[in-house]
């Protein structure tokens, strides 16, 4: 097994913990306004307060608490989307690769067609029709992501199908479904996992971009992109409103990408160049 990059793995784990249990760590309620402490700079700067470590926004809401709440929504949205997209793609890829023939041709043409569309435009068209909000953002990400899994799983199936142990199982009369689930899928699992981890990074960027445009997560929910969008107006007086969430996005995406690429490199040393 390849050694995973320790720093990136640690950051990913910390982010997931913050996303799951962060509410317990939030020093304040994320959407509690405090007009006595508006636009307080981060602690350590002139005017900073110890109880607001990362400062407050234009309504006096605590930045640290909002960032933690944003972590919850940003990561959960990405995670849910990747899980569903992955499942759909894996199932279609398995069916296509295993059955071959017309079914395969149909699923693969559909996959190609989806991969050839510019996904940000697809996302915009879907949001335009269905409206913003968490559920629709997840739907957008599922629609734009499943095809990559289908293609990956199909190519894995095609290569594994020819291996001796699968042929033997077939000769021994094991049913196709059992072969697919018991023998083919486990062999493809690491590369699926690698793609999923890489997709989390992609999903975080997509969600934050849409939220930034006002087409994603809507208040009173909080996400990193939304905090950035709200902070933009106050950029000339309060840099901390846009710098913190941006840094978090970059940190999260780099960590997930590094882990994903290392996982993939384990499979295909060429891509790790």
């Amino acid at each position: 097994m390849t050694r995973l990059p320790a720093v990136s793995v640690t950051i990913c784990v910390l982010l997931v913990i913050a996303a799951l249990f962060g509410w317990a760590l939030e020093p304040f309620t994320p959407d509690a306004a405090d007009f006595a402490a508006v636009l307080v700079p981060p602690f350590g700067l002139e005017g900073g307060l110890a109880q607001h470590l990362l400062g407050t926004d234009q309504l006096g809401r605590d930045m640290l608490s909002r960032l933690i709440a944003g972590t919850h929504i940003s990561l959960m949205t990405a995670g849910a989307a990747v899980a569903v997209a992955g499942t759909i793609g894996v199932v279609l890829g398995l069916i296509g690769g295993y059955l071959g023939g017309l079914v395969e041709a149909a699923t693969m043409r559909l996959t190609d067609a989806f991969l050839a569309l510019p996904f940000i435009l697809m996302a915009l068209a879907i949001v335009a029709a269905l409206g913003p909000g968490i559920g629709n953002i997840i739907l957008v990400m599922i629609l734009t992501n499943w095809a990559r899994y289908a293609r990956l799983v199909r190519s894995e199936v095609l290569s594994i199908k020819q291996r001796d142990f699968v042929l033997l199982a077939r000769v021994a009369g094991v049913r196709p479904l059992v072969i697919a689930l018991r023998h083919v899928l486990p062999n493809a699992l690491t590369s699926i996992l690698a793609l999923a981890v890489l997709d989390v990074g992609r999903a975080i960027v997509l969600e934050s971009s849409l939220s930034f445009l006002g087409l994603g997560i809507q208040p009173p929910d909080v996400s990193w992109g939304l905090i950035l969008a709200e902070g933009r107006t106050y950029m000339s007086v309060a840099w901390w409103l846009t710098v913190w969430p941006g840094l978090l996005i970059v940190l999260a995406v780099i960590s997930f990408n590094t882990v994903g690429e290392r996982l993939r490199g384990h499979f295909d040393p060429r891509s790790a160049l």
Binding site: D112, I120, M122, L124, S209, T242
Partner: protein, 304 residues
């Protein structure tokens, strides 16, 4: 070769059909546009007339073919908001977007290619590590955040460039750097990988033995060999830049397609959304198709 072209063109047509089907479905999901278009004092008879005029009273499959026919005739509907043909609005906005994407492309090549070449020839690999860091940063930083940080530094603090607007040369600097930065990261990575491979090849080793100056080997012979995949990739990048421009335009108030489409979504002006998505997607696919066909002409190995 003919086989490859036929298949590739066929594939593009399937994608196009899927795209129109998707847009049509989404357009129907937005609901009946009649109340959005007709003035509030319109009578029920007026509304019925409108529905009939636009074919909204026909069965869905028939409506789809009607829609397809309209698209083929360049009729993409009338903007609810501006009362003008949506296609005209989109074509008007296409100019600024193409300018921005074009200049961003130049920025990306000027930064990315030299970085990639230097990293490939760097003996200790320190530059290679730098390029890897640069590339992963470039891929992880969302363009709107890069844009905001550039504005904060160069427009608010240093007051060197305007933070938004369109018209003068200075207006181009921040948006094109924002957009170009993202593309430069992947161009650098790809250049490095292809150059490294070309430098390892037998003929380069042979030339070294023959005593041809190193600089000449790198810049003339190895680069020429590495050029085909790089140039192909530049084509694909341009397509990505077109769609990437959407977010960047929004931040800098750039009067392009991105700005148009986001405004249209926020104002529920679906014909404009539909026209923007169609035009940009067709452009994107046409570029990809052209790149693939050119690649097939240049490199016979991929014509399978």
């Amino acid at each position: 070769m003919a086989m490859f072209i036929t298949r590739r063109v066929g594939q593009t047509l399937v994608t196009l059909l899927l795209l129109t089907l998707m847009i049509f479905t989404l357009a129907r999901l937005t609901g009946d546009p009649t109340p959005l278009v007709m003035p509030s004092e319109a009578t029920d008879a007026d509304r019925a007339f409108f529905r009939q005029e636009y074919g909204l009273d026909r069965p869905l499959p028939e409506q789809y073919f009607l829609f397809l026919g309209n698209v083929l005739h360049g009729n993409l509907g009338i903007s609810f908001r501006f009362r003008e043909p949506a296609l005209g609005l989109v074509l008007q906005a296409l100019g600024p977007t193409m300018q921005l994407a074009g200049i961003a492309m130049v920025v990306a090549i000027v930064i990315g290619m030299p970085l990639g070449i230097l990293a490939a020839v760097s003996p200790v690999g320190r530059l290679a590590i730098f390029v890897r860091g640069y590339a992963s940063l470039g891929q992880a930083m969302p363009s709107f955040w890069v844009a905001l940080m550039l504005i904060m530094l160069f427009a608010i603090t240093l007051r060197l460039f305007p933070s938004s607007g369109y018209g003068s040369v200075a207006n181009f600097v921040l948006p094109s750097v924002t957009l170009g930065f993202y593309a430069s990261a992947s161009i650098a990575l790809l250049t490095r990988a292809n150059m490294a491979e070309a430098l390892r090849s037998d003929f380069v080793q042979m030339e070294r033995v023959l005593g041809i100056p190193w600089r000449r080997i790198v810049l003339k012979h190895a680069l020429r060999n590495a050029a085909v995949p790089i140039v192909t990739y530049l084509g694909l990048q341009f397509g990505l830049l077109l769609s990437g421009a959407i977010v960047t335009e929004r931040v800098f108030a750039w009067p392009g397609i991105g700005q148009l489409v986001v405004d249209a979504i926020l104002n529920r002006d679906f014909p404009v959304v539909q026209a923007s998505v169609l035009v940009t997607a067709v452009l994107f696919m046409a570029i990809n198709l052209a790149v693939d066909l050119i690649y097939a002409v240049l490199d016979p190995r991929i014509r399978t």
